[in-house]
Symmetry: C2
Subunit: 361 residues, 2 copies
C-alpha cells in the first residue's frame, strides 16, 4: 500500500513555498523526521530538507543513502558526512540563501550552532504540523485501515479479558495480534489497567490479575503505512459492589457522545473540550478529568490539533482527532472511552466501530 | 528488580549541585525524560525537575500524580496544570532563583518562551548525559540482564534463520521472544536484512525470503529495568559464489576484535574508532564503512560516549558501549558484528557472549 501519490508531494511543496514567501524567508530547513516523511515519503530516521524558491534538497547520512534513493523522488540527494551545520552552510552558499527558516522543534543546541553562522535565521512555528492536521482522502483511508487492524486485533483478544487474567498478558497478546494484522509499529505502549491502577491515566501493565468489581481500561493503537490509530475501551468485571463503577461509566459515555456530536467544521477546539468537560463537571467529577478531551492522529499518534481547554484552534474539515474523556477516582478506578473522529462537512464521522455501551464481563 | 538504591539518587543530586556551583547557576531545570528517570526513578513520560542548592522539586501533570507519588521519593511534587513555563516561573519566585540552568536538548520553542521571562538562563550542555556514561555495578548488572534476555531470545529464534524464511517473520518471532523474556520495551525496531538489503545499514525487515549466498544482518536489543542492550550478528546462507561474502566477514571480525582489544581507561574514543577504521581501510573497504564504530548504551540504546572519528572523549572505567564495525557493498550485501563492552581497569570486558565466528547456514 502506498498512501501518497507523487502529485500530493508536489502540492505540499507548493504550499510550503507560498508560506516561505509570506514569511519572507528564501530558504526553509525541515528537521522534524515526521515532517520529512510527510513531504518526501522517506521512512528512515535521520535527515533534513533544504527548500528554496526553486530548488529542494534531501540530505541524509551514509546509512540511508540507498534507502533515500529508493524512497525520495524528485529531490536532490546530498549525503552529509559528520557535520550537519557545515552541510547546511554549504547549501546556503550554493543556493544564495540569505534568510533561512527553521522549525522551532529543533533543540536549543542545534539552534545555537546554527545561529552562530553568518546567515540570518527565522523560526517557523508548527508550520508543517498545521498542514498535517487536514488529511486527504488517501490519508483518511489509510487511517481507517489502521483503525481496522487495531479493532480486529482487539476482538481476537477480547475473550481473554476476564477475571484472573494478568494485565500484562492481555497487553502482550494484543501487541502480538496487532503485529500479525500488519502493524509495523505499535504507536505507544499498550495500557491495560485494572482496579485502582485504572485511576492512573498512564499506568503500565503489571502482573496484577483482573479482580471482581474492577474497572479495566484498555488503550491501544494500530498502524498502517505509517499512519496511526488510537482507541480506548473500559470494561467492568462482574462483582458485588459495582454501582459506583457503573455510574462513572455512564457519565463518561455521555461526555464522549456529547463531545462527538459537537464536532463540526468551524467550531473552536476548546468548545469541543468544554462540551465533555462541562458535562463531567456538572456530574460532580470535574476535578477527576485532568487531561484534554482529545488530540490529532495521523503520522504521529499525538499530533495537532489539541482538543483541550488551554489551547484552541478552529476545527476544519478532514481533520482527524480523538475524543477521549475520562474520570479517575483514586483508589477506586477510572473510565476512559476514546473514539477517533474525522471532521466531515456537517458532522464528525466516527472511525471507531467497536461497541461502547457498558460491558460487564 | 530495582536497580538503583535511594543513596545512589542522593549522590547523583550531590554531583549536580557541585556542577551548579561551578557553573554559577542557582537553579537547574532538567527536562530530558531519561535524565529525569536517572535522577529520580520516575518511569512516566512527562515532567521536569527543578533543583536549587537546597531544594529539589519534581513536577508532572495530572496524569502522573499517583505514579510520581509512588516512584519519586524525597522530592517535593508539584502538579502542573497546563502551562509549564508558568510553573517554572512560580518555582523561580518561590526559591529566589536568579540564574536558571537548562538542558540544551530542549526545543528552540521552549527555550524561546523561557528566555522571555525575567530570570537569567544558562545552557548546560549534556551535563547529565556525561554523568550517565559511567555506570555503577548495579547498572552494569542490569545491563548484563538486558544482554542475557536478548541472547536467550535470539538463540530460540536462531533455528528459523535459514533459506526460505522471510526477514519479517524472523524479526517478529524475535520480538515475541524478547517480550517473553521480560523485556518491557524493545529498544529499537529489529533489523533483519538479507542479500542486497544487508548493504543498507538501517534496512527495515521486508517479506523478502533468505536466499542462497545471502549475507543476513540481524541487529536487535533487549531491555531490563529500563536499561538496554544492543547487538548484531551476520550470517551467510549456503550458496555457490560466497567467497567475497566470506572475505567481508573476516575483515569485519578482525576489525571488531582489534577495536575491542584497544579498549582501556584513558584511551581517546576516536582512537578506538580509528583502530577498526584503519583496519577496514587497509583492507580496501574504507569507503564502505560510513558509520561510527560504536556508542554508549544504558537507559537509552544510543547514548554517550560516541566511538567515532568526528567527536572524541577519553574512555573511562565502567563506561558501557558497543563496538560495531561494518562493511556495506551496494548490490552485494553487508556485514556488521556488534558487541557490547564494559570498560574495566585493564581492558574491555565483552558483555555479548554469542559466538561470532562465521556461521554458514
Amino acid at each position: 500500500m502506498k498512501t501518497i501519490s507523487d502529485s500530493v508531494y508536489t502540492s505540499r511543496l507548493v504550499l510550503i513555498r507560498e508560506a516561505m514567501k509570506k514569511k519572507k524567508i528564501d530558504g526553509f530547513l525541515v528537521t522534524d523526521i515526521t515532517n520529512i516523511h510527510y513531504l518526501t515519503g522517506f521512512s528512515g530516521s535521520s535527515g533534513f530538507l533544504f527548500i528554496t524558491g526553486k530548488e529542494h534538497f534531501f540530505s541524509t547520512d551514509f546509512r540511508y543513502r540507498n534507502q533515500s534513493e529508493q524512497e525520495v523522488k524528485g529531490w536532490d540527494i546530498v549525503i552529509e558526512r559528520g557535520n550537519r551545520i557545515q552541510t547546511i552552510q554549504n547549501l546556503c552558499k550554493k543556493t544564495g540563501t540569505k534568510n533561512l527558516g527553521f522549525e522551532s522543534s529543533v533543540t536549543y543546541e542545534f539552534y545555537n550552532q546554527l545561529s552562530q553562522k553568518t546567515f540570518q535565521i527565522t523560526a517557523a512555528d508548527h508550520f508543517i504540523e498545521r498542514l498535517r492536521t487536514v488529511k486527504n482522502e488517501a490519508e483518511i483511508n489509510t487511517i481507517k485501515e489502521a483503525v481496522k487492524r487495531a479493532e480486529e486485533a482487539f476482538l481476537e483478544v477480547k475473550p481473554f479479558i476476564r477475571e484472573g487474567a494478568h494485565e500484562r498478558a492481555i497487553a502482550l497478546r494484543l501487541e502480538e495480534r496487532l503485529r500479525k494484522k500488519g502493524c509495523r509499529n505499535i504507536p505507544f505502549e499498550i495500557i491495560v489497567a485494572s482496579g485502582s491502577h485504572s485511576a492512573l491515566p498512564h499506568a503500565r501493565p503489571t502482573e496484577k490479575k483482573l479482580q471482581k468489581g474492577d474497572l479495566v481500561i484498555i488503550d491501544w493503537g494500530g498502524e498502517a503505512d505509517g499512519y496511526c490509530s488510537d482507541m480506548t475501551r473500559t470494561f467492568l468485571i462482574k462483582g458485588q459492589h459495582i454501582s459506583k463503577q457503573k455510574e462513572l461509566y455512564q457519565i463518561v459515555l455521555w461526555a464522549n457522545r456529547k463531545a462527538i456530536s459537537s464536532v463540526i467544521p468551524g467550531i473552536e477546539s476548546k468548545q469541543v473540550d468544554s462540551t465533555a468537560r462541562t458535562f463531567i463537571k456538572n456530574a460532580g467529577y470535574g476535578e477527576m478529568f485532568g487531561h484534554g478531551t482529545g488530540h490529532g492522529v495521523g503520522l504521529q499518534v499525538h499530533e495537532l490539533p489539541r482538543i483541550s481547554w488551554n489551547k484552541s484552534s478552529p476545527v476544519r474539515e478532514n481533520m482527524v482527532f480523538t475524543i477521549e474523556p475520562g474520570i479517575y477516582v483514586p483508589g477506586l478506578g477510572g473510565v476512559r472511552i476514546e473514539d477517533m473522529v474525522v471532521v466531515r462537512k456537517k458532522r464528525g464521522e466516527v472511525l471507531t466501530s467497536l461497541r461502547k455501551d457498558l460491558e460487564i464481563i
